[in-house]
Point group: C2
């Protein structure tokens, strides 16, 4: 079984200072050893037909499902989630065991 990937893609509301949101997430993630990796990115060129208006992707990995659950229910995460939720216009959240095809292990 591979690691657990927590993937969030969002479109932020107009006027939101995305830098502040990202800084908050970086701070949050730095507080948890449970979070094994954290990457994010902004698509600023993709055609609407492909992006559907989504602009940002945030991806975290955890060793196991229980670690993800512990992170999710931690008060620091709950507090941050309220801020994050208020900033977004739309969101997709996927969580899944990641199958790594390449590079092969």
């Amino acid at each position: 079984m591979g690691e657990i990937k927590h993937l969030v893609i969002v479109k932020f509301k107009e006027g939101v200072v995305v830098e502040d949101i990202v800084k908050g997430m970086e701070k949050l993630v730095s507080e948890f050893d449970l979070v094994k990796s954290f990457e994010w990115g902004q698509d600023s060129e993709g055609p609407e037909m492909l992006t559907q208006g989504f602009t940002h992707s945030f991806s975290m990995t955890f060793d196991k499902k229980e670690d993800y659950a512990e992170f999710q229910s931690h008060p620091n995460h709950v507090e941050y989630s309220a801020t994050f939720s208020a900033a977004i216009e739309k969101i997709v959240v996927l969580c899944f065991p990641s199958v790594r095809v390449k590079p092969s292990a």
Copy 2:
């Protein structure tokens, strides 16, 4: 500048044999040294409110934008894309320079 990430999340049409689609993608990716990494996963438990009906995530990385463009325009990719497109009900595609926060480089 980080690597270029090509992220695709989809909901497949009913009746589609997802295994075949994934095998096709694995084969395609194995033909290109340009594709530095390839991971995928299926979220089978997330609530509709979070997943918006999307079930699968596919993620590839490239060293640079030009490599991604070369991959995209290659006849093998174009051919596979036609098959893939016919199998999906909805899709979001994001492509962005990935910012890796953790683990720190």
